[in-house]
Symmetry: C3
Subunit: 339 residues, 3 copies
């Protein structure tokens, strides 16, 4: 596909400067782009890259426009505009839609219009798959599930019984929706498994990363509201609720019955313990551990700072002595006040 600067500007209702007929056919980063590429500048930290870029067109902000003399599209939010432009160049799933013959689909399942079900997929009893949804291949869906319209489900995804997806949901490879929550009651001499009788309910426009796991609830459901985006290797335990527009980076984990607000930004490797609440608009920095409810929007951190290991050993010894150090200091202060 080729598209000109003018056509792009019209399509995205944006201002442009430069040669209106210059055509691009692909996207690239500023430092590797050539004349047939469109690129973007979002973070002003990288403004210096504009001087050297060979990109045919650059998407940038009004403010950065003055630093660049080449063909450009001026956007309020260059990254959002870039996301939309890049979508033009994404390979469509050109594959013909079909129900592959190497599949096991329960007779009671209801399959909508223009649904694709790839090879080696399994669909359980009474499950409903709405129109336009694509199951790429090797997808396992249990009984009594409801999969909304226009979802994209990648290979090796497993959705267990009774779970629900909204519309436009993307499930990346290997993610597992609705495995049993980790519920155990300690009897006298051994553990008794607590049956997990709830399900998982995922709203519209959500995305679940590769090999991420979302457990079913014990009695109620585990819930992702609309427009929640989870990266890879995340663990969401039973009965967790995640508010709309919250995004979570890779390897984070939320323990049972925790409730996370809307519009939170949760970094990678974060831990949130069970039965607490995180309010709306909270940012958690990478590898933070949240051990009590957060009631005030803002940014939170908890990790010790990186040091060379030889220095770190000295700090580590002192951390263990900290309470004594503080008490020694208090004693000295008292002495001093007597002088």
């Amino acid at each position: 596909m080729k598209i000109s600067l003018e056509e792009l500007a019209q399509k995205f209702d944006a201002e442009f400067q430069g040669n209106s007929s210059h055509q691009i056919s692909a996207v690239a980063a500023l430092d590797s782009a050539k004349s047939h590429h469109i690129s973007f500048l979002s973070n002003s930290k990288y403004t210096s890259l504009l001087a050297a870029t060979k990109a045919g067109i650059v998407i940038l902000s009004q403010e950065n426009s003055k630093h660049f003399k080449g063909n450009q599209i001026i956007a309020k939010d260059p990254y959002v505009t870039f996301a939309k432009v890049a979508a033009l160049f994404q390979k469509g799933n050109s594959q013909v839609r079909e129900i592959n013959s190497n599949t096991v689909i329960a007779k009671s399942a209801i399959i909508g219009k223009n649904v694709h079900i790839g090879a080696y997929s399994i669909i359980g009893e009474n499950t409903i798959i709405a129109d336009e949804t694509v199951l790429e291949a090797r997808v396992t869906i249990g009984n009594n599930c409801r999969i909304g319209k226009n979802c994209l489900i990648k290979p090796n995804v497993v959705i267990l019984d009774d779970c629900t997806l909204g519309e436009n949901v993307i499930l990346h490879p290997g993610c597992i929706i609705g495995a049993d929550g980790f519920g155990l009651a300690r009897d006298i001499d051994k553990w008794v498994k607590v049956p997990q009788l709830g399900a998982v309910v995922i709203g519209d426009d959500c995305e679940v990363g590769a090999n991420t796991t979302i457990d079913r609830g014990t009695m109620d459901d585990t819930v992702l509201e609309n427009d929640v985006h989870l990266d890879n290797q995340i663990q969401i335990a039973h009965n967790v609720k995640i508010g709309a527009h919250t995004v979570m980076a890779g390897c984070s984990a939320v323990a049972g019955s925790a409730k996370i607000g809307k519009n939170c930004l949760i970094g990678g490797g974060v831990g949130i313990i069970g039965h607490i609440e995180v309010c709306d608009k909270v940012t958690l920095q990478s590898m933070a551990l949240v051990t009590r409810s957060i009631k005030k929007p803002g940014s939170y951190s908890s990790v010790s700072p990186l040091q060379e290991t030889s220095d770190w050993r000295k700090s580590a010894v002192r951390i263990k002595q900290l309470d004594k150090i503080a008490k020694r200091l208090t004693r000295l202060e008292k002495q001093e006040s007597k002088i």
Copy 2:
């Protein structure tokens, strides 16, 4: 299924109070339960919920009985009794047991009585699957494995050659038993892979969570004793031994040849380094890192406390200075003692 208060009390050999003929047909949490639900109160922190609950029956302790006037079952351990009651309402696998025709089963494999093997499963040479075991679908079992009686193996589980499961083992979707341990020897200019010739041995009544990985041993085996429960996304490295009745929450990782005792409670995101021992009855709080052997039962922690990021930055700077701070304090104390 409907069951009355009196029938329940008899079935679980428990005391009851209230309308003996009141019937319930499902379980629910105290705050969402209605008249046809049975609920429970285990943590006295939530006693206040009893006043408002609409549950038809509540399972509670002798002590909490006085706070509730409705129908009730009085149990020594309400959570254990609840687990057993809830099991009554778990959907049985009503599916007819069969060896699905879309499977690849080696001729030398031995399949017990009443075994179910779901679609797209693969069973290797000389593998033995004991009676009553269910492989839900899309299960891969290698050569020379022994799978005990009455196991439940969920979709996308992979068990590699030579591994052994005891009886009543549950493997959740996507878990991988017996992948190669991470063994590398550094030769002059590149890494040489150390063959992993051991296997994985899992005892009776164990449970392995979704997408959890347990590596095979290098020479000896990696071992889970009986009644070990692992949550999702856990990594157990080669040659690890985990004692009976130990439970481990999601995203924890145990490095090679570590030995964990019996009856340990290991929180989420915990790290245990290689070649150390953790004794019996140790509790590790979430995201703790264990870098040396623990010889005394008890609870251990290591994470820095959560702070607002702006405050945290100040603490982080000071952590790096801690050794100097301590030395400055010591100097002051010496000065003071001279005064």
Copy 3:
């Protein structure tokens, strides 16, 4: 297979002492080995095990040779020699190589000589699989991929479109190569997905652990240079570059566009944030978090030390007060200087 001390010594061009005709047929650890086993001593910490071992042959260093009177092979690096010896006893994939009939292979795919494709595998359009490569079973490879010679791909691996593997690459079960990177642009009231148009390029002699995920790049590729070894449950985000001979232990995570040097040793559970560089020859201790570029080779750490939880609570309180503590100390020092 049986092999004598003399034959082994010849094969690996090593010195030996003892009964040249003594034969061994398996490997074992020093403390469990019997007369038909070969074992090794690499870490001098365990020299005391030599006295009691019943191993038929031990591989050890010149220095440790004096501590052992039994049959022995003297090696420069006993662990490397052991790795090579152990490889002799690894079960060959005795399975006849075949293209299993239960597979879905695109007509445009090009399959090399002596390739094995196990049951329920799927190969996409225009994908090339070079000679001698083994896809064990249930492997999914997308369109336009290039898989080099002599690779070993285990069950449940997913490789998405356009990705490239070099020669001799091992992919362990459940790993996912080329899922979408986590790219989101915040529009006024919701997230817009940023298309991920790059791919993943993996060099020769690399190994990727079970359930590890490596995301495709946004515009450029995510790259592993030659001889990179990743353990299980690792997350590599979009556009990350990892230098040759770097190894990374389980559950580590590297955020988008980070660049890691050659010959790094990265411990388990380590986090590396996005857009930073780690130079060559850096060791990162377990669960360290790297928040800025590292420009000097060496060992780095960041975790708080493990304490009993009751002691840890006291330290945790003081960590929050650290900045104030340091300021109080400074004030005292000023007072003292006036005296």
